[in-house]
């Protein structure tokens, strides 16, 4: 357990203990020369009338080297997958192969305008078609849209499709969407955006959706069940087929939140489980970097019955050529301008090529093996509310530390001192003092062991010196921040420095 000593934190963290980095506005020096563009080599015409022009442009003026140092120093204040273990549950922080980024930056992709004539973008359209086909094969669905910008955007697209489907059948009574209490918050938020009323379903004692509650809630007014498979408890529902059959028997559809697909690659096809619409988070399962909060991509897979409703345009093959098709009268319309997040899609496509069919299953097997290994290593120190084999993540409860005045938040902050990014905490909401740990398949056993040792050491510290946890983290650029004052008197922008005013 010596491996878990705080002294073993990765190099680099020490560098993070620096004086605060100034804001760009504080680095600004008015007369410093900036970027020069060539003067236009055409005769100049008069500018538009003055009342259409701006009077001042109060942007900071910072030289190139200072900009480079500023953002390099900022980057060093971040924890990232590239710097260490990042078991943030529900987010699938796996290794993002560098090849993906290199390929997405190729001029043949990054330099394409979305409105170029089809004959000039055949390689890009072929890539999209191939990615759609691969994702359809992995999930068992008939068609895939690559337009949604993120998981929540995929949910929005999927629910709009479900609504269009019911409407077109003249079934206008369906106003309710059922959402389990363990669902991601995006599920009820999306249902509300589409105008549905949300009905929350409880979980049963084994962490499944309560089947009897589902049956009681189903009726001719229910449009859909939104289900996360595996659930946010890291569990695969033991009554999955019974759930989806009950929903279909009531004339409703099953929306699958595929945020946790990293457990199911080559393990089960969601379409075969009775799901009608599924979004996948390509930035999670298909290994495109999360970018500090995005961009993601929320590919949406649907059954044949729902294919006509997909957003426009769709990629169509005509002979040897590909084209974009806009004329689809039953489509819900576009959900984003200019198609999908192509740069993210290139990364997902490259990743899938590397994995191949057998690699997919290997990913999920290792992800599930790693999560279960941590479950067993940690159950001595933390409660496992639903202690059965988990899928790709394990949800623990820190409730037994409460007696020592230690909260899950304190455990999370202390993990930072040990050099690890904390797991997701206080989610899912149905678990008291929740710690949601998703190790992913790309970590070594040594890393998992070191993390478990740190978690155990922290549990012991909670007994012996709880104040150490409550004051953590100790070795970061800033200590715990006063979020209450920040929210009461929000400062959301710098005060524009007078020096930069024209």
């Amino acid at each position: 357990m010596d491996a878990a000593s705080p002294l073993s934190r990765p190099p680099g963290l020490a560098d993070l203990r620096q004086t605060p980095e100034p804001l760009l506005s504080e680095l600004s020096t008015p007369d410093r020369p900036g970027i020069e563009l060539p003067a236009p080599d055409v005769p100049r015409v008069a500018l538009p009338p003055r009342d259409l022009l701006r009077e001042a442009l109060p942007l900071p003026v910072v030289g190139e080297l200072e900009v480079v140092r500023h953002f390099t120093r900022l980057s060093q204040k971040n924890y990232a997958i590239d710097t260490g273990f990042y078991p943030l549950g529900s987010c699938t922080m796996k290794y993002n192969p560098k090849l993906n980024d290199e390929l997405a930056r190729l001029p043949g992709f990054a330099g394409l305008h979305p409105y170029q004539p089809a004959e000039t973008v055949q390689g890009a359209l072929a890539l999209l078609a191939a990615l759609e086909a691969a994702l359809a094969e992995i999930t068992g669905f008939a068609a895939v849209s690559l337009h949604p910008a993120a998981g929540a955007h995929g949910e929005l697209t999927g629910l709009l499709i479900i609504r269009a489907y019911h409407r077109e059948r003249g079934d206008t009574r369906r106003q309710r969407v059922l959402v389990p209490d363990s669902a991601h918050g995006t599920n009820p938020a999306t249902a509300a955006m589409v105008g549905y009323e949300t009905v929350t379903l409880p979980s049963d004692a084994r962490g499944n959706v309560d089947l009897r509650a589902l049956e009681a809630a189903l009726g001719p007014d229910v449009a859909a069940l939104m289900i996360t498979a595996p659930s946010t408890l890291g569990l695969f529902d033991e009554h999955m087929l019974a759930l989806t059959e009950a929903v279909h028997a009531a004339g409703a559809l099953v929306y699958g939140d595929g945020a946790n697909m990293n457990a199911l690659l080559g393990v089960a096809k969601p379409a075969a489980l009775g799901i009608d619409v599924l979004h996948m988070n390509l930035h999670k399962t298909f290994s495109t970097p999360h970018g500090g909060g995005g961009p993601g991509a929320g590919a949406l897979a649907v059954t044949a019955a729902l294919e006509p409703y997909l957003p426009v345009p769709v990629v169509r093959r005509r002979g040897d050529d590909y084209a974009l098709e806009y004329d689809r009268p039953r489509s819900i319309g576009p959900v984003r301008a200019f198609g999908g997040h192509f740069g993210v899609l290139v990364r997902a496509y490259a990743y899938l090529r590397r994995l191949g069919a057998e690699g997919l299953r290997a990913v999920s097997e290792a992800a599930v093996l790693n999560a279960n290994y941590l479950r067993v290593l940690l159950q001595e120190w933390y409660d496992v509310p639903y202690n059965r084999p988990c899928m790709h993540e394990v949800v623990l409860s820190g409730r037994r530390l409460k007696a020592r005045g230690v909260r899950t938040l304190d455990v999370a902050k202390r993990l930072i001192d040990y050099g690890f990014h904390p797991p997701t905490i206080y989610f899912p909401l149905v678990v008291e003092e929740a710690l949601m740990i998703e190790p992913t398949e790309t970590e070594t056993k040594a890393t998992l062991d070191a993390f478990a040792a740190a978690m155990a050491a922290i549990a012991r510290e909670a007994q012996e010196q709880p104040e150490l946890l409550r004051a953590a983290p100790h070795a970061t650029p800033v200590r715990r921040l006063d979020e209450a004052t920040a929210a009461r008197q929000p400062v959301l922008r710098w005060a524009t420095p007078p020096a930069t005013r024209e």
Partner: protein, 129 residues
Amino acid sequence: MTPDDRRYSREHEWAKLEGSEVVVGITDFAQAQLGDVVYVELPKVGDQVTQMKEMGVIESVKTASDLFSPVSGEVVAVNEAVVSEPQLVNESPYERGWLIRVRPDNPDELRQLLSAAEYEALIAEGDSE
């Protein structure tokens, strides 16, 4: 602990009859559950509120909760101090942290609410779950 000069709702609001008006706030238990209150959104003077219907929102750093009016009636005053200093709800939930004053449509509605003893029993029940 729980003042017995007023009545309580199951949603953790209190209602205190003062003359012909009812003062409304949230309980000490509620503020402790919320943690640091950072924002309070209240109805406007002149708005109509309805018993057990949403009348506003209270936000802490980590959560937000709807406020339900314990009585029906017209809002006659709003505690502007709480709007500018939301921490008053934490510091003094029963006094300086009051939220609104209502001219009740039917003061008998207060009788449908819990007494201090009943409310304490409700909290104790929740704790033991």
